[in-house]
C-alpha cells in the first residue's frame, strides 16, 4: 500500500428526541416561571446550524430585584435555618436527578453550546452530577472543613456564569453555595441559557423549596443589575478578566464577598525527556478540548528547542486526524464556535498573529456551510511579545514558543498577567515538582491536562481571579 489509508466515518448522530424544548422560556423566580416585567426577550441559537432553539426572557432590574427578594425570603425562612443534614439530602436528590436526566441535558448542552456530544456526555454531565454529590456531602460537615468552629452562610449569592461549560459552571456555583446554606440568583450566559432553564425543572422535581434557586436570563446588563443589587451578599463570577475587573470595582467599598474565576493563557511546557506521543495527546486535549473555549486551556505551548521539530511534526499529524463538524455526531472531536461574536474575535486575533509575523498552520478539514466554525490552528515562530502569546484567544488556536533550560521555561511560563493553570511534561518526577513550585498558577497538571474533579480546588493567581472552586477550599467563598 502506498500513501495513508483514509477512513470515512458514517454519520453517528445522537438523537435530539430526548430533549423537549419549549419555544419560549420565562425567568425562574421563587419556584415558578414568569415572564419579565417588560416582556423583553432574546433568541438562543444552535451555533452549529444557526437555527433558533428558543426565545428566552431578558431580565431587567425589576426582575432581578424580584429574584433577589425571593432568594432573601427563602434564605431567611427556609434554607438558612434548615439543618445541614436536610440540605444535604436535597443536594443528593439533585445529583441523582441530574444522573437520571444526563443524556437529555447533554444533548441540550450540545445544541445550545456547540460542543461535541462526546464531551457534554462524558465530561460535562458526569462532572455536574459529581459536583452536587460532593458538595451534598459537605452540607452537614461544614464544622469539619477547617474553616472555623461555627461556619455561617453569607446569605444571597448572585452568580454569573459563562457560556463555555454552561451546566458545569452552574453546578460549580450552585452546589457549594447551597451546601453552605446560601440561596442563589444565577444568571447564565446570554448564548447558552437552556440547560440552566432545564435545571430549574430538576429543582422542581427535587422539591427544592421555592426561592432557593432562581434563574434570571439576560445579557451583560442583567448580570450587572444582579452584581450591583444592594441585597446580594456574595458575588461569584466566571468569565473574562475585563468583566471581572468591572465587578471588583463595582463591589469596592461594599460588604459583598467576591470570588472571580477569569481568563488564562496557560503554558504547557514540554521537556525533551517527555513521552512525546503522550505529550502530543495532552497538547491537543489542552487546546482543542471544547474548541479551546476553556479559561485554563494550554494555549501557549512551550517546547524544549531540541525536540521542537519532532513535536511539531507529530502534533500536526495528530491535528490532521481531528474530526471537526456536527457536534451531535458521536465521532466529532471539535464542534462549533459558540457564537458569531466569538468567531469574529478569534479571526481578528489570528489575523494579528499573521500580521506580527508568526506562521499559521491549520488542520486540513472541511468546515460545514452553516454555523460558526474555526479549524484547529497553530502558530509557530511566536515570540513573547506577540499578542497571540499574551492575549486570551478562547478558541482552537495554539501559539508555539521554545525554551532551552528549565529556568527559561519557568520565566516564559510566568511571563503573563494571568495565572490559572499550567502543564508540565517530563519523565522526571523531581523536575515536575520543581516546576510546580515555581509556576505561578492555581492548577498545575503534570503529564496530563484539563483534569477536573469536585474534590480538587480550581482557580487562579494574579489576573485570573481569586477564590477557589472545588474541594474543601471551595466552601470558603460561601461561608463567614
Amino acid at each position: 500500500m502506498t500513501g495513508p489509508m483514509s477512513f470515512d466515518y458514517a454519520p453517528a448522530p445522537e438523537s435530539r428526541s430526548v430533549v423537549d424544548l419549549r419555544s419560549s422560556y420565562g425567568l425562574f423566580i421563587d419556584g415558578k416561571f414568569a415572564d419579565p416585567a417588560d416582556a423583553r426577550s432574546f433568541k438562543t441559537v444552535n451555533p452549529a446550524t444557526e437555527e433558533v432553539l428558543a426565545e428566552v426572557g431578558e431580565a431587567g432590574p425589576a426582575d432581578v430585584d424580584r429574584a433577589v427578594t425571593a432568594a432573601r425570603r427563602a434564605y431567611t425562612k427556609v434554607w438558612g435555618p434548615m439543618p445541614g443534614r436536610e440540605r444535604a439530602k436535597y443536594l443528593f436528590r439533585i445529583a441523582r436527578i441530574v444522573q437520571e436526566r444526563s443524556r437529555e441535558l447533554a444533548v441540550a448542552e450540545t445544541l445550545d453550546n456547540g460542543k461535541p456530544i462526546r464531551e457534554s456526555r462524558d465530561s460535562d454531565l458526569p462532572l455536574v452530577a459529581a459536583w452536587f454529590f460532593y458538595y451534598a456531602g459537605w452540607a452537614d460537615k461544614l464544622e469539619h472543613a477547617g474553616l472555623g468552629a461555627d461556619p455561617r452562610p453569607l446569605g444571597v449569592a448572585g452568580q454569573v456564569i459563562p457560556w463555555n461549560f454552561p451546566l458545569m459552571m452552574l453546578a460549580w456555583k450552585i452546589a457549594p453555595a447551597l451546601a453552605c446554606g446560601n440561596t442563589v440568583v444565577l444568571k447564565p450566559a446570554e448564548t447558552t441559557p437552556l440547560t440552566a432553564l432545564l435545571f430549574a425543572d430538576v429543582c422542581r422535581q427535587a422539591d427544592l423549596p421555592p426561592g432557593v434557586v432562581n434563574i434570571v436570563t439576560g445579557a451583560g446588563a442583567t448580570g450587572q443589575a444582579l452584581v450591583e443589587h444592594p441585597d446580594v451578599d456574595k458575588v461569584a463570577f466566571t468569565g473574562s478578566t475585563p468583566v471581572g475587573r468591572q465587578i471588583a470595582r463595582a463591589v469596592a467599598g461594599s460588604t459583598k464577598r467576591v470570588t472571580l474565576e477569569l481568563g488564562g493563557k496557560a503554558a504547557n511546557v514540554v521537556f525533551d525527556d517527555a513521552p512525546l506521543d503522550q505529550a502530543v495527546e495532552g497538547i491537543v486535549n489542552g487546546i482543542f478540548f471544547n474548541q479551546g473555549h476553556v479559561c485554563c486551556a494550554g494555549s501557549r505551548l512551550l517546547v524544549q528547542e531540541n525536540v521542537h521539530d519532532e513535536v511539531l511534526e507529530r502534533l500536526k499529524r495528530r491535528m490532521a486526524t481531528l474530526r471537526v463538524g456536527d457536534p451531535l455526531d458521536k465521532n466529532t472531536d471539535v464542534g462549533a464556535i459558540n457564537s458569531a461574536e466569538q468567531l469574529a474575535r478569534i479571526r481578528a486575533l489570528t489575523d494579528v498573529g499573521d500580521a506580527e509575523g508568526a506562521e499559521r498552520w491549520s488542520a486540513p478539514c472541511e468546515l460545514p456551510a452553516h454555523g460558526y466554525w474555526f479549524a484547529p490552528t497553530l502558530f509557530t515562530g511566536v515570540s513573547q511579545a506577540h499578542r497571540i502569546a499574551r492575549e486570551e484567544i478562547f478558541g482552537p488556536v495554539l501559539s508555539v514558543l521554545t525554551f532551552r533550560t528549565p529556568h527559561e521555561a519557568v520565566a516564559k511560563a510566568n511571563n503573563t498577567p494571568y495565572g490559572l493553570s499550567a502543564g508540565v511534561w517530563t519523565e522526571k518526577g523531581s523536575r515536575i515538582l520543581w516546576m510546580a513550585e515555581r509556576l505561578r498558577a492555581g492548577v498545575v497538571w503534570a503529564n496530563t491536562f484539563n483534569q477536573f474533579d469536585p474534590a480538587s480546588p480550581f482557580g487562579g493567581y494574579r489576573e485570573s481571579g481569586y477564590g477557589r472552586e472545588g474541594g474543601r477550599q471551595g466552601l470558603a467563598g460561601y461561608l463567614a
Binding site: R85, K89, G137, K141, H144, S430, L433, P454, A455, R472
Partner: protein, 290 residues
C-alpha cells in the same frame, strides 16, 4: 373464611454476599422485647468467623481501589434502599427493642441519615485527615490516610440497627471491609439490613454479618492474623474486653475499647471520631529539583 397464616423469614448469616446458615448447624432462640419467641437465629461458629474474614479480605483490595466518589454513591444507594424498606425496619426495631412506633421511626430515620452522613465522607476524609507537610528541605511531602484492611466489629447490644450502622458504616466508608458480630439479644435487624446491602451496589464481602455469642466468636476474631483492627464497642463484660484486647495484641491489631459504663446515645451526631481509627497515615517523600 380462615385467617391467612403469615410466612416467616429464616434469619441466616451474611458472608461474602451470600446468606448461609451457620456451618455448625446451630441456632439460638431470639425473643422479642416482650419475651415472646420471634425466630431461631444462626449461632455463628469459629468456622463462620473465619469464612467471614476470608470474604472480607478478598473484597478489601477492590473496595479500597474504588474511588471515594464511587464508594460514596454505593453508600448513598444503601440509604435509598433502606428508606424504601423503612416500614419493615420500624416494625423490627420496635418489636426487638420494645420501642413505640414513633421512637422506632426516629431510630430508623437516624439510621438512614447516618448512611448519608458517611456517604458524604468517602471523598472528603483524606481532605480532613491528610495534609501536605512543610518539611525543611527541597521535598514534596504528603500524608494521606489509607484503609487499614479488615476490621472486626462487635456491634452495640442495646441499639440493634442505629448502633450497628453507626459502627459499621464508617469502616466501609473509608475503604476497609468489615466482619460484624450483631447484637446478641437483638440480631434480627442486622440480617434484614444485610438484605438491603445484598441488593444495593455494595460488593459481596465488604460487609459480613454474624449472629451469635460475643464470648464465643469474638476471641476467634481478636486472635485472627488476617484481621487488622477490632472494635469492642458491643462487649459489655469488662473482663472479656480486656482479654480480647490482649488477644489482639498478638498481631498488634488496632483496638477500639468499649465505651465503659456510660451507655452511648447513638442518636447523637456521629462526628468524625469513627473515621480515623481504621485508617493508616501514609507519607510520601519526593525530591524537588531540575
Amino acid at each position: 373464611m380462615s385467617e391467612r397464616l403469615d410466612v416467616r423469614k429464616t434469619y441466616k448469616l451474611f458472608i461474602g454476599g451470600a446468606f448461609p446458615r451457620s456451618e455448625s448447624g446451630r441456632s439460638y432462640v431470639v425473643n422479642d422485647a416482650k419475651g415472646r419467641f420471634w425466630a431461631n437465629a444462626a449461632l455463628a461458629s469459629r468456622k463462620d468467623a473465619r469464612d467471614a474474614v476470608v470474604a472480607a479480605r478478598n473484597a478489601q483490595p477492590g473496595w479500597a481501589g474504588r474511588t471515594g466518589y464511587n464508594r460514596g454513591q454505593v453508600l448513598y444507594r444503601v440509604a435509598e434502599l433502606l428508606e424504601g424498606r423503612r416500614g419493615q425496619f420500624v416494625a423490627e426495631v420496635s418489636r426487638g427493642e420494645g420501642l413505640s412506633t414513633r421512637k422506632a421511626e426516629a431510630v430508623v430515620d437516624a439510621s438512614i441519615d447516618r448512611w448519608v452522613w458517611y456517604a458524604g465522607w468517602t471523598d472528603k476524609v483524606a481532605q480532613v485527615l491528610g495534609n501536605a507537610n512543610p518539611v525543611a528541605g527541597p521535598y514534596f511531602n504528603l500524608s494521606t490516610p489509607e484503609p487499614t484492611g479488615v476490621v472486626a466489629v462487635v456491634a452495640p447490644q442495646d441499639s440493634s440497627l442505629l448502633g450497628l450502622v453507626s459502627v459499621a458504616a464508617p469502616v466501609v466508608a473509608t475503604g476497609s471491609t468489615v466482619v460484624v458480630l450483631a447484637s446478641e439479644t437483638a440480631p434480627l435487624p442486622a440480617i434484614t439490613l444485610a438484605e438491603v446491602l445484598a441488593t444495593s451496589d455494595l460488593p459481596g464481602g465488604v460487609v459480613n454479618m454474624l449472629t451469635g455469642r460475643a464470648a464465643e466468636v469474638a476471641p476467634w476474631l481478636a486472635t485472627h492474623a488476617d484481621v487488622n483492627a477490632i472494635d469492642l464497642t458491643g462487649v459489655g463484660d469488662a473482663d472479656l474486653a480486656g482479654d480480647l484486647e490482649a488477644d489482639a495484641a498478638g498481631t498488634l491489631k488496632r483496638v477500639r475499647r468499649p465505651a465503659g459504663a456510660k451507655t452511648a446515645d447513638w442518636t447523637d451526631g456521629p462526628g468524625t471520631d469513627r473515621l480515623g481509627w481504621t485508617m493508616e497515615i501514609k507519607t510520601v517523600w519526593h525530591p524537588m529539583g531540575v
